[in-house]
Symmetry: C2
Subunit: 298 residues, 2 copies
C-alpha cells in the first residue's frame, strides 16, 4: 500500500503520531537541538509513511544499526562508512563548503587522517618507505583574487600501492603522509606515490549493504589534501587520477568532483626528474594541483 | 544559513550529491530494497539540507549512533529505545495496523515480551508472586461484526509494583505474564496487577537524549495484550490506566491512544471479589476490556 492509498482516518492517525513527537520536543532548552530533532522527526516519519515500512523491515533496520555500532572500535568507524556510502558525509561537506568563486572544491576527509604527521621539507618525499610508484606533485596556493598565499600549511596523505594506509597495518609506522609549508610565493612541491584504487573496509554491515545493492566498494584513486592559512576557509579535499579506474569503478563514497580530477602524467623510466632525483629504471608520474582558498567565513 | 539562502549553484551541487547516490542504487537487485533505500537517501539528504547540518553536528550524530550500538547486548536494545522515543516504533505500528471499523487499536510491542509465557487458566492469576495490587481483568473478544471469537489466544504481561518486568531482574523467574484462551463465548477473565508508571531504561545514550530535550523517561501505566485468532489480524496493544499518571507524565514512547484508556475501578479492602478470592485487608482494582479483532489482511 502506498501513502496515497491510506484513508483520511488512517492518515490522521499517522499524522497524530508525528505531531505527538514534535510536541514533546517543545521543551528542548537548546533551540538549535530542537530544530535538528524536529527536522529529523519529520523526515524519519515521512520515510516510514512514504515506504509503508513493514514491521519486519523495521526489525531488519534495528538489527543493521545494532551490528553497525558493534563493528566500531578504535580502528574502525562503521557508522562513518555508512554515512559515506549513503552520501551523507559528502552532502554534509557540500553544505558546509558553499561554492565560492574559483575556490577549490572540498570533498570528504575520510577515516584515515591522522594528527601529527611528520614535517616534510619542500621537495621531500612523503612516502617514507611506503611501496608505490613515485609521483611528483607541485602547485601553488592562491586566494580567490589570485594572490599567492605564502606559508600556507598543507597536509597530504594517501594509501600505498597495496591500497592500504599506514594505520591499516599492525604497528605504529607512519608513511605516505606528511605536513608541508608553501614557500613565499605560495608554491609547494613534494614526492608522493601515484594513487591507486582501493576498497573501503567491506567485511562488515556496510559491505553487506553494498553487496545487497550490487555496488562496488572501490574508491577512485586519490591523494588527500588539508590546506590551512590564516584568514582562509580550511580546505579538505582530494585530487583524483583521471582515467580508467575513475570511469569504471566510480567512487563508493561519492567524493569525486569534476574540478578535482587531474591528469597524472606518466613518465617513462629514465625521464629526468624535476629535482634530479635518481629513480633508476622506475617509471614515475607528475601532477600539478593549483589550490584556491576561499576567505574565512565565505 | 537556511536552505532557502543557498545560491542556485550551491543548490545544484547539493542536488548533484543526492542524485549520485540515487543513481548508485539503480543496480539494487531487490526492487523493494531499492524503493526503501531511495526514500531513505532522499529523506536523509533533505534533513541535512533543511537543517544545514554542521560538520560538528554530523560528528556528534556519528558518536551518538556509535554509543547507541555499543549499549546493545542480549538484555538491552538501545536502538529499539531510540526508535521508541522518536515515535518511529509507534509510527511503524500505526502504518501496519490500519484503522478498520471498530477494531481495537494497536500500540507498541515494547522490549519485554517473551515467548513461552506460562499457560494460565481463565480466572487464574498471572502475577505468580510478582508484588503489586491485585487487579481483576475481564472482557470479551469479538469480530468487527460483533460475533464472539471463541478460543481466541491472549498473551498478557506487565511490570510489578517496582516498575520492573521479570526479565529485568537477575535470574530466570517468570512472573506477571501469562497465556490464556478465551471461552466458547470469547470471554476471558484473570487476575493481574494494577499497572504502575515506570521509566524506560535511561542510563544510556537514549536517556541522555531525553535529558537534552527535557523529556520524561516515564511510560504511562499499562497492561500489554497480544491477541491471536485464526482469520483475524494479530492485535498487539496495551490498555492504559486513566488518571493522574497518564495526564502528568505522558508516555515516553507515544504509545497512548484515547481508545485504549480504561478506568481501573478502585475497590476498598473487603469488597467481595468476582470469584470470591480472599484478599484480606488489601485494596484491589477491576477493569473491563472488550477487544475487537480486524479480519486478517484488512
Amino acid at each position: 500500500m502506498e501513502d496515497g492509498d491510506a484513508t483520511p482516518e488512517q492518515r490522521a492517525r499517522e499524522e497524530a503520531v508525528t505531531d505527538a513527537v514534535l510536541r514533546s520536543l517543545r521543551t528542548t532548552p537548546d533551540p538549535r537541538l530542537r530544530v535538528v530533532l524536529e527536522s529529523l522527526t519529520r523526515h524519519l516519519h515521512a520515510f516510514l509513511r512514504d515506504t509503508r515500512l513493514t514491521e519486519e523491515e523495521w526489525r531488519a533496520g534495528i538489527e543493521f544499526l545494532t551490528a553497525t555500532g558493534q563493528m566500531c572500535d578504535a580502528r574502525r568507524q562503521e557508522f562513518v562508512l555508512l554515512s559515506d556510502v549513503l552520501g551523507v558525509s559528502m552532502q554534509t561537506v557540500t553544505i558546509n563548503n558553499p561554492a565560492c568563486a574559483a575556490a577549490t572544491e572540498a570533498t570528504v576527509l575520510g577515516p584515515f587522517f591522522v594528527e601529527g604527521a611528520p614535517e616534510i621539507p619542500l621537495g621531500g618525499d612523503i612516502a617514507q618507505g611506503a611501496p608505490g610508484e613515485p609521483c611528483w606533485v607541485h602547485g601553488c596556493v592562491r586566494d580567490t583574487d589570485g594572490s599567492p598565499v605564502p606559508g600556507a600549511r598543507l597536509e597530504v596523505w594517501e594509501c600505498d600501492e597495496n591500497g592500504l594506509y599506514d594505520v591499516q597495518y599492525d604497528g605504529e609506522r607512519t608513511a605516505a603522509r606528511g605536513r608541508l609549508v608553501a614557500d613565499a610565493q605560495g608554491a609547494f612541491r613534494f614526492w608522493a606515490l601515484t594513487p591507486v584504487p582501493y576498497p573501503i573496509p567491506h567485511d562488515g554491515p556496510v559491505g553487506a549493504l553494498l553487496a545487497a545493492t550490487a555496488r562496488s566498494p572501490m574508491r577512485a584513486p586519490h591523494l588527500h589534501f588539508l590546506v590551512q592559512a590564516p584568514g582562509r576557509r580550511t580546505l579538505i579535499t582530494h585530487i583524483f587520477v583521471a582515467g580508467e579506474a575513475l570511469r569504471t569503478a566510480g567512487d563508493a563514497v561519492f567524493g569525486v568532483r569534476e574540478s578535482l580530477v587531474r591528469e597524472f602524467l606518466r613518465q617513462a623510466p629514465g625521464t629526468p626528474t624535476p629535482d634530479s632525483r635518481e629513480l633508476g629504471d622506475r617509471a614515475w608520474t607528475r601532477v600539478r594541483f593549483d589550490i584556491v582558498l576561499a576567505p574565512d567565513g565565505a
